[in-house]
Symmetry: C2
Subunit: 558 residues, 2 copies
C-alpha cells in the first residue's frame, strides 16, 4: 500500500482539480457515492466482522504519550455496551511530539498535503460500512443514515475543506521577482519567497451526534494547511473518530510523515479534557461542535487559538401558503424533516410559524389548528409502521432527550404526543416519535430557546409579516442553522429572503422533494453562516480556512 | 463630478483587474505614483492654501449624530497648534444611521462597491499634497515622507485591500443550479442563490504615526465587503482621516449611497471613545493599530467583533558577515533604517545581534565594538547636516519618545548619543537623532521589550547561531513586524530563514539598496504576519478580508 508523495499527488491531482472546480461553481459534485450499492458486495459483512472484533478490546493507535491507562465506556443507543477501550495520552508528551512533526509537514507543500488528505478520505470511504457501524452505535442514527452521513457525506465535506485549504494556500506563487522601475538607471530587483506556515496544533472537539460529518471540515482544513490535528472525541462517540485517526496515521506513516500529525485524545470519565487541551499554548486552532455553553467558553477563554464554533440555534419555518397539488407532498416532506434521526440534528426545524388568520392551500383557508392536525397526521402516517419508523428515527442518543420530551408534554397544547417505538432488531433501543405542541407567538419564553430533540412548536402569529419578523428576531438573537418558507407568493418569498440576508441564516424555499431543510450538500450548500449566534463559521468557505496558516516572507536583492 | 455606479464601474474595472492580477502574482504594481513630480505643478501650492484655510475652523462632515460640541486640539510636532475643530458625534444616533445604510450598500454588489472605493482612492490621490500636510503636522513625518507614506503608498495599500476583498466576494457565482442525478427518473434540481452579507459596522481605530497607511487596509477591506466604516482617529492625528472620510462621503453621496456608510468619530479629551465604540453591539469588525495594552484589551473584550490588531514588536537584525565591497553601503543603508522618521515606525529595527567573536567583512574580522563604531559613524555622517537630517528624521511625534531617550542614555554602553537638531524651517520642532547602545545578550531585561523611538541596541551574542536563537525566541515571545540578516554564507541565510518560518516574521536578506527593512510595498510585501504576537493579521491576504462578510444562501426547486 505504501505510496510515495509523488505517487499520491499523481493519483489524486484529478480529484483535487475536480473539487477545486466544484467550490468555484458550487454546482453538484460528489466524490464519494452515498448509494450503498456502489460499494463492493462483501464490504458490509466484512465491516460487521471488523466491528464485532473491536468489541472487548483496547484500540491502540500507537501514539506518542500513551500513558498506560485505558478509557472508554461507550454505550450504543441501541442498547448494549461497545466494550471498546482507548489508550489515554499525556498531553505533555503528545503535544511536543505533534509540534516536532510540523516542519516536515509544512515543507512538503500544499499539493502533497492535499494528496495525503485525499488518500486518507479514499481509505475512509473504502471503510464506510465500518464507519457506519461505529457511528450508528454511538450516535443512534439508523444504519443507512449512519452510512451516508458519517461515511460518504462526511468524506465529501472533508474533501471540500481540502479544496478550500489548497485554494487559499495557492493565492499566489511561492516565489516572485519584484522589479521596481527607477527613473534613471537600473530598476531595483528583489527576489521574494513565501512559505505558508501552519499555526501549530489544531484541536478538533467532536460531538456526540455527528462526530465525522461535523469533525472532518475542521480536521481536513487544518491538516491541508500544514497543521497537526489532535482530535478530542465526545466520550459517547469515540469510535468513529478513532477509526478516522487510525486511517490518517496509517496513510501519513506510509507516505513518510510522522503519524503523530494526527492523534486522538480520548478522555477519562469527567476528566474535562477539552478544557485542558483548549488552553494549551501549543493549540492554535480549535474546531468545536456542541453546546452554546462550551462554545462560548472557548471563544472567551481559548484566546491563543483561532476558534471555530458550531453551537445551538433555533430553526424556523415560515408557513404562508401552498399550492393545492403540493400540500400533501409538503406535509410528508415536513414530517420527514421533523422525524429524521429523532430530530437530533442541529438543522432540524423547531419553530413553525403560522398566521392565526390561516394559510391558503389552493383556494382553501386552513387555520393553525387545521394545519397542525394535518402535519400531525403526516407524521403519524410516516411513522405508523415500527420497522419503517426506526429506519427513519434511529434511536434516542442520550437521556436528556427523554427529559426534554417529558417537559414538552406540559407546554402549550399537545398536537401530537410522542410515542415509544419498539425496534424490531434491537429491543433495548430507546426509540421515540416526535412531539408537536401548539403555542402562541406571545409565548416567547417557550420557543425562544432550543429544545434539542424531537420537539417542535406550531406558533400562531398575527400574520405572515409577523412570522417573518419573529423569524428575523429569533435568528438575530438566538441563531439558526437552517430556515424554510412555504409560500405561493413571490412577495412573501422575497420578504423572507430579505429577512434572511439581514439575519444571516440559510433559507430553503418550498422544498417538497427528496432534499430536506435539515440537509446541506458539500460543495454547494453552506452549513451555518457565521453570521448569527449559532455558529461563528460555515462549512466551508475561505473564511473557514484562510486563518489556519500564515504567509511568511523573505526577500533579498535579485 | 457626479457619476452613476455604472459609470464608476466602467471607469475603474481596468484598475480593479490590474490590482487583482497584482495580488495573484505579488510582482511589482502600483497605481498611485510616489514621485511628487508625477502630480500637477500647482497641486502643492493649492494644498498648502487648503491646509491653511482649514486652520482656525471647524471641519464639518455633515454626519448623522453631530451633537453640537466641537473637539480637536491637534498640535503639530513642528511646533504649532493646528487649530482645527471637529464635530463630536453621538454614537446612539450615528450607529443606527450607519446600520440603516447597510442594505443599499450590500445590494449594490461587490463590483459597484469596488468601483466606489477606487473612486475614493483616486480622489484621495489627487489630494495627496493636502494629505501630506495633514500627515506631516500630526505625525511629525518629514514632508516628502508624509507625501509618499500617507498619500500614494497608503492609497496603494487601500487598493490592495479592495482587490483582496473583491476576490473573496467572488469566490463563486451568486447563483447556481444544483442538479443531483437520480438512479431512476428525473434529477433533483435546486436553484441556489448566495448573497455576501456584511457583518455590520466596522470600527477603524487610527494611530498617531501612520493614520492613513495603517488605517486604509482595514477601512477599504471592510467597505468593499459591504460594511459601513466608522473611523475613530487618534486624538493627535485626526486631520488625515477627516480628509479621508470627507472624500469618501462625497463619493458615496454622488454615487447615490448614504454618506453615513463612512463616518468619523473624533473624541473629546480623555473620553476613551475607542473603548465605548469597541463594545457597541453594532460594531462587528475592529481594525486597530497601536499599543499592546489596548490591542490585547480589544482582543479580550470586543468579543462581538472580528478584531484585527497590529501592535508592538521587537524588530531584529542578525549581523553575521559582509562582502567587503558592500560593507559601506550596508552601513549607510542601516543608518538610514535607524533614522527614517526618527525610528518612530513599528518596522524600525531595534535589536542588532552581533557575535562577540566578531563578524567577517571580506577577509577582516570586526568585533562588536568595531561594528558599533562603524554604524555610529554612518549615522553621524547621514545626519551630519541639519537640513538633510530633518528631511530624514522629521520631528519627534510625542513627549514619550524623549522620556525613553533619557532612560536609554543610562542603558549599557552608549555607542552613539542622541543629538538635538534645529529644523531650518520650523524652529519649534523637536528633532532628535538616534541613540545606539551596546549591551550583552545576557541583558535580556533591556532588549526584550520595545523601546519605541530612535533607540537601538547592538547586542553581543555567543555566535551567529546564538543570534538566530535569540531572534527566534524574541519573535515568538515578543513579536516582530520585520527582521533582517546580513551574511555572505548561504547556510546562515538558510538558518535565518528556517527560524523565520518557525517564528513567523518577515525577513529581509542583505538589503543595501533603496528598499529598506522598514518598508513594505503594497501588492507584494506583507506587513506583519499574524503569526507572532506583534499582529494577529497581515496587510493584506485573504485571511484579512474573508471574515468581513458571510455568504448567506437561499435555495428552491428549479
Amino acid at each position: 500500500m505504501t505510496a510515495t508523495v509523488d505517487e499520491l499527488i499523481a493519483r489524486h491531482r484529478p480529484t483535487l482539480d475536480a473539487a477545486l472546480g466544484a467550490i468555484r461553481s458550487r454546482e453538484y459534485y460528489t466524490r464519494f457515492p452515498e448509494n450503498a450499492k456502489a460499494y463492493p458486495a462483501e464490504a458490509k459483512e466484512q465491516a460487521q466482522a471488523a466491528f464485532e472484533a473491536r468489541r472487548g478490546t483496547t484500540w491502540s493507535l500507537g501514539e506518542a504519550g500513551a500513558d498506560g491507562t485505558t478509557v472508554g465506556g461507550e454505550i450504543s443507543p441501541y442498547g448494549f455496551e461497545l466494550g471498546i477501550g482507548y489508550e489515554h495520552v499525556d498531553p505533555d508528551v503528545l503535544l511536543p511530539a505533534m509540534q516536532a512533526a510540523l516542519p516536515a509537514w509544512r515543507d512538503t507543500g500544499g499539493e502533497a498535503r492535499a494528496a495525503v488528505c485525499i488518500e486518507i478520505l479514499d481509505r475512509l470511504n473504502a471503510r464506510s460500512f465500518e464507519v457506519a457501524l461505529t457511528a450508528m452505535h454511538t450516535t443512534g442514527q439508523a444504519y443507512m443514515m449512519a452510512f451516508q452521513a458519517a461515511g460518504p457525506n462526511a468524506q465529501d465535506r472533508g474533501l471540500e475543506a481540502v479544496a478550500y485549504g489548497y485554494s487559499a494556500l495557492n493565492a499566489h506563487p511561492d516565489k516572485a521577482v519584484w522589479e521596481k522601475p527607477s527613473g534613471r538607471g537600473e530598476p531595483t530587483r528583489l527576489a521574494k519567497k513565501w512559505i505558508a506556515a501552519p499555526r501549530g496544533v489544531a484541536l478538533v472537539v467532536g460531538c456526540n451526534t455527528f462526530p465525522t460529518w461535523n469533525g472532518y471540515p475542521g480536521l481536513f482544513a487544518s491538516l491541508v494547511t500544514g497543521n497537526a490535528v489532535l482530535v478530542k472525541p465526545h466520550p459517547f462517540a469515540v469510535a468513529p473518530l478513532a477509526l478516522t485517526v487510525e486511517i490518517a496515521r496509517e496513510v501519513l506513516a506510509e507516505a513518510g510523515f510522522p503519524p503523530d500529525l494526527v492523534a486522538l485524545a480520548p478522555e477519562a470519565k469527567d476528566e474535562g479534557l477539552a478544557k485542558t487541551l483548549a488552553l494549551r499554548p501549543e493549540v492554535r486552532i480549535i474546531d468545536f461542535t456542541g453546546s452554546n455553553e462550551f462554545g462560548d467558553w472557548l471563544e472567551a477563554n481559548a484566546r491563543q487559538a483561532q476558534v471555530y464554533t458550531e453551537k445551538a440555534g433555533i430553526n424556523t419555518i415560515i408557513v404562508d401558503s401552498f399550492r393545492e397539488d403540493e400540500y400533501k407532498a409538503a406535509l410528508g416532506h415536513l414530517a420527514f424533516s421533523l422525524s429524521l434521526y429523532t430530530a437530533q440534528m442541529c438543522t432540524t426545524p423547531q419553530n413553525i410559524l403560522v398566521p392565526r388568520t390561516g394559510i391558503r392551500v389552493g383556494d382553501e383557508l386552513k387555520s393553525p389548528d387545521d394545519f397542525a392536525a394535518d402535519l400531525a397526521g403526516a407524521v403519524e402516517k410516516l411513522l405508523g409502521d415500527d420497522a419503517r419508523a426506526t429506519a427513519i428515527l434511529g434511536a434516542v442518543v442520550n437521556p436528556f432527550i427523554l427529559e426534554r420530551l417529558d417537559r414538552a408534554a406540559n407546554v402549550g397544547k399537545t398536537v401530537l404526543a410522542t410515542r415509544t417505538v419498539t425496534h424490531p432488531e434491537f429491543p433495548d433501543a430507546t426509540v421515540r416519535t416526535p412531539l408537536i405542541a401548539a403555542v402562541d407567538a406571545t409565548d416567547a419564553d417557550v420557543y425562544t430557546h432550543e429544545w434539542f430533540g424531537p420537539i417542535s412548536f406550531i406558533i400562531s402569529t398575527d400574520s405572515t409579516q409577523d412570522s417573518i419578523n419573529v423569524y428575523r428576531d429569533s435568528v438575530k438573537a438566538h441563531g439558526a442553522l437552517t430556515a424554510a418558507v412555504y409560500s405561493t407568493s413571490e412577495d412573501v418569498i422575497a420578504a423572507a429572503e430579505e429577512a434572511t440576508w439581514d439575519a444571516g441564516a440559510n433559507l430553503s424555499i418550498n422544498l417538497v422533494g427528496p432534499i430536506y431543510v435539515n440537509q446541506s450538500a458539500a460543495f454547494s450548500d453552506y452549513h451555518g453562516t457565521g453570521a448569527n449566534p449559532a455558529a461563528n463559521a460555515t462549512y466551508a468557505d475561505h473564511a473557514f480556512v484562510a486563518g489556519r496558516f500564515r504567509f511568511i516572507q523573505s526577500r533579498r536583492p535579485a
